[in-house]
């Protein structure tokens, strides 16, 4: 009789992380509720802006207006996505199941971050051409896309952490924007200024400060969230 303990094949960090990303993608592919909600909401925000700011053909193509409207839209739509993504984990006890799995907690965090980032970038990718048509501006600017990706990474990195906190409170959905917005203001400033600079075609020397700010933000918040995520999901 072999009395050695059975060695369970403990999944590696990468495999655990990709399993979570894959799970989110598969669930989204079947229900399509997260992306469609984010997208329709974002479209409504853009339409409301058109009337709220009374954008006439002269002002609506101005770079500062374009990047401003875009980033407010991304910020709001992102909140909806983050809330939904964490709420589905919490609602049917999925999070408890994930926590019971013999994987590194940070794999869960990075899995959720990548999932949320993919959703956010997808919505942005759909919005860019629509915005270009509606407002008659050309958004196919590699610099602008680069800034959008950098901004989204930081937003999602800290947003995923705060959303997993918010869903465990009594006030849930209401709390996420209140927790998230004051923390992401630096990234909104950097992203709006950087996007405006690219749309205006300024020289790179004037754009670097914003790119650097975004990179610093991304690195600091990803590291921090990685360090404290264990305490958020601990029971």
């Amino acid at each position: 009789m072999d009395n050695r303990p059975v060695l369970v094949d403990r999944p590696t960090f990468w495999r655990a992380m990709w399993a979570i990303v894959w799970k989110d993608m598969a669930a989204e592919l079947r229900s399509r509720e997260l992306i469609s909600a984010m997208f329709v909401f974002a479209l409504l925000v853009i339409i409301i802006f058109n009337f709220a700011l009374d954008l006439d053909p002269g002002t609506r193509t101005a770079p500062s207006i374009t990047s401003g409207v875009l980033w407010v839209t991304f910020t709001f739509a992102g909140t909806i996505g983050l809330n939904r993504s964490m709420a589905t984990e919490k609602d049917r006890g999925c999070l408890d199941g994930l926590l019971l799995a013999p994987v590194d907690r940070s794999a869960i965090y990075f899995g959720k971050v990548i999932g949320n980032l993919v959703f956010m970038l997808l919505v942005e990718a759909i919005l860019f051409p629509i915005y270009s048509i509606l407002y008659n501006v050309n958004l196919f600017n590699p610099g602008l896309i680069f800034i959008t990706i950098l901004g989204s990474i930081g937003y999602v990195a800290v947003g995923t952490l705060l959303a997993s906190m918010a869903v465990q409170t009594r006030t849930r959905d209401v709390l996420l924007p209140i927790l998230l917005f004051p923390i992401v203001i630096p990234i909104i400033i950097g992203a709006v200024k950087g996007s405006t600079a690219f749309l205006q075609g300024l020289p790179m020397s004037e754009i670097w400060p914003y790119i650097n700010l975004l990179i610093v933000f991304d690195v600091v918040y990803t590291t921090l969230a990685f360090l404290v995520f264990d305490y958020i999901v601990e029971e």
Partner: protein, 233 residues
């Protein structure tokens, strides 16, 4: 429950005395600033309150870190006490700043990086208190509070540097002068003395308040314990 410590009573009296002296110094000891006049006197308590606000948030972030490492409830009480005191003084800082800015900048408010950062910082800690009030389980409340206190404190310099990408008009009294700043002045020795005295006074106020607030937190815990005991019987 422990009795009020004698040292705390002594500190109460010292702090009250220091505050009276500091107020006297601000109004009668420090000379009048030539260009701005009386309104410049707000500067002494304005900077001191800002300092206590930052000190409170720093203490909260450090206490939060220690709480996460040790899970000792004492540090949770320190953290929430420091945040509450920090918020009051940060608010005093913003309000006194506005009073000074009205005659000097001709506006109650400008979107200067320092003003913006101070206000966003207040909002971060308002969110902190709302987060705590939304959680019933004490250990989860303490963990989430600690995490948010740390993230919030780290976001402050980032907010400042991002807002600084716009031009600033806030005077920098200590350190290098900035061209374009409105309301700049050099301190005379009497002003420096008053200023340092205000800083020390406000630091004392912070320590005393923090001590009282921690005591209150411990008593609240004790009351909760007693309530549970009665409920069990």
């Amino acid at each position: 429950m422990s009795q009020k410590s004698r040292l705390l009573t002594v500190l109460d009296v010292i702090t009250l005395f220091l505050l009276l002296v500091a107020t006297w110094m601000v109004f009668f000891y420090a000379p009048m600033e030539r260009v701005m006049g009386q309104v410049q006197r707000v500067f002494y308590f304005h900077v001191a309150a800002g300092w206590v606000g930052m000190l409170g948030f720093l203490v909260a972030a450090v206490a939060g870190g220690i709480y996460l490492a040790t899970a000792n409830r004492k540090w949770d009480i320190v953290e929430v006490s420091a945040v509450e005191i920090g918020m009051v003084f940060a608010l005093i800082n913003v309000v006194t700043g506005s009073i000074w800015a009205r005659p000097i900048w001709n506006a109650w408010w400008t979107w200067d990086p320092r003003l913006t950062t101070a206000t966003i910082m207040l909002l971060v800690y308002a969110a902190y208190l709302m987060l705590r009030s939304g959680i019933d389980d004490p250990s989860r409340r303490a963990r989430f509070g600690a995490v948010y206190a740390i993230i919030g404190f780290i976001s402050v310099p980032l907010t400042f540097f991002s807002a600084r990408l716009f031009r600033t008009i806030h005077p920098i009294v200590i350190g290098s002068n900035q061209p374009g700043a409105t309301g700049q002045f050099d301190m005379s020795p009497l002003m420096v003395q008053t200023f340092l005295f205000s800083l020390i006074t406000f630091t004392f106020i912070f320590i005393v308040l923090l001590w009282h607030r921690i005591r209150m937190g411990q008593m609240a815990d004790y009351v909760e314990e007693l309530k549970l005991k009665i409920g069990d019987q």
